[in-house]
Amino acid sequence: MSFLEVLRFLGRRLLALPVVLFVISLGVFSLLYLAPGGVEAALLGNRPATPEIIRAIRDEYHLDDPFLTQYWLWLQDALRLDFGRSIKSGEPVFTVIGRGMTTTLFLSAYAFIIAMTFGVGLGVLAAVRRRTIVDRGVVGLSVFSVSAPAFATGIFLLYLFSVRLGWFPVFGQGSGFVDRVWHLTLPALALALSIMALVVKLTRAGMIGALEQDYVAFARARGVSSRNVLVKYAFRNALVPIVTAGGVLLAFTLTGATLVEVTFSLPGIGSRLVEAASFKDVPVVQGIAMTFAITIVIVNVLVDLMYVLVDPRIRFGKSAA
């Protein structure tokens, strides 16, 4: 790929963004209309259906305007992160999201660090010790981890480490950094296990591919130490597929975090989403869905940029042979 082609590729991806966001936001906005009993009933919640309140709702949500006008007005607010008020509690959706965000971010970051450290480590180990008992053990573990949903793993971990061994607390998220790390270790572990399968698989495949390359054989022939061959020659190239899978990893993390938050009763945005969806609190559902959608889209762009950055052939504007 020449430099110009890369620019064109990035340009096309960036142009696709508004389209993707348009499709998703239209879907999210339409949720209001999909709710059984109609829009008014959905927005009314538990309030009595007096004509005044219905009038107020029709005005506030511009229900007398055509559908596309309503969508446009909603989108303008949504882009300023104003998703209206929660039907259940009456507070702004933004506040609800903000409150859950710290827990979710902490949990996801913690899990991500665990998954990356152990996932990449085990993947490299399996590739280096290919076709040994170690490799088969790692591959078996990752089949288990891809088959075990985060909520099942969470309950196994709770049983073993909290109920049986009593090492970790069953509930709560603690106060202060150290206490929080201690409280969130089991949830993060459950989440990490569900992300790890993919990381192990990608690292192992990437390393095996890289170790078979001629440049690795030549480096060995030149007498480069096997440690350097692994780290500087093979590993750096094996990293590319992990970076490019960033979008999928994020989707895994968001899904897993939601299940884990419910399993461990943590007040993150995932458990808020489930709560709001069960209660049919449409504005909150819309707000959280859009937050997730925007995050996924931004991460996908970053992945595309990273893809360009990690490949020096592209970075230095030389075309590949």
Partner: protein, 288 residues
Amino acid sequence: MIELAVEKRDRLHEARRRRRMPVLIACCVALMIAVLACAAIGPLLAPYDPNAPDLFTSVAPPSSEHWLGTDTLGRDVLSQVIVGARTAVVGPVLIALGALAIGGSLGLLSGYLGGATDWAIMRWVDLMLALPGLLVAIVVVGVLGGGYLVAVALLIVLTAPIDTRVVRAATLEQRPLPYVEAATTLGLNRRKIMVRHIWPNVMPVVVANSFLNFALGLVTLAGLSFLGLGVGPSTPDWGRMLSENRELLAENAWAALAPGIMLVLTAASMNLMGDRLYEWLSDRGRAR
């Protein structure tokens, strides 16, 4: 010479591995037969009525009468696990078959016709694959209501892009082969070439993929039930048992562990069988 020896050793290794694998696969098949039997005639196999409450033996640990103990309402956990196999099989099978039908047709069209059709289908696939399936299902099933069947229908749509991609890739491989050219020369119409000639060659790979889709569907549906968005209140379901019996970990852990273990084992069996089938098919392809 050295290379030849290494290759020979590798091949021996491969052969040995191949003979060893089937033990694991046999276990998977046995487990799946058991699960399918439970799904088909579960109520006959279960020692108790899975929904019959018995408040005198509520939250009992395993005993000779109740092998896996009872839950808060005194319902027999073993019976619930056995009958719960039904929702664990029916939904995922529908998802895998539905995705096979939709993904198969779109993949064939995309791969064989190419051009604008291909472009449009692939953009749809890209969009769908970027969405986290379970979260979309939470949002739609939560707001729409409808529970299990709506979830199954939605997951068919969300799983189809995976099959579309697999079938498209396989179709692109088949397209330049002589038999397609021969069929074209014979003047067969495109529909006939796709359905009668390309599809039989592509199908094995998609079927292998359907095993993986089954596992994915099982885990996602159980997740929805776990979150209270799946099956109705009187249907025994592994995901729902996990969430209801989570509080019983100290008194009767089996009430939550047993459905969890069954869920993981079933999904793992399907994943292993699917992976194995894939490997076997690609080996066969290379030998040809």
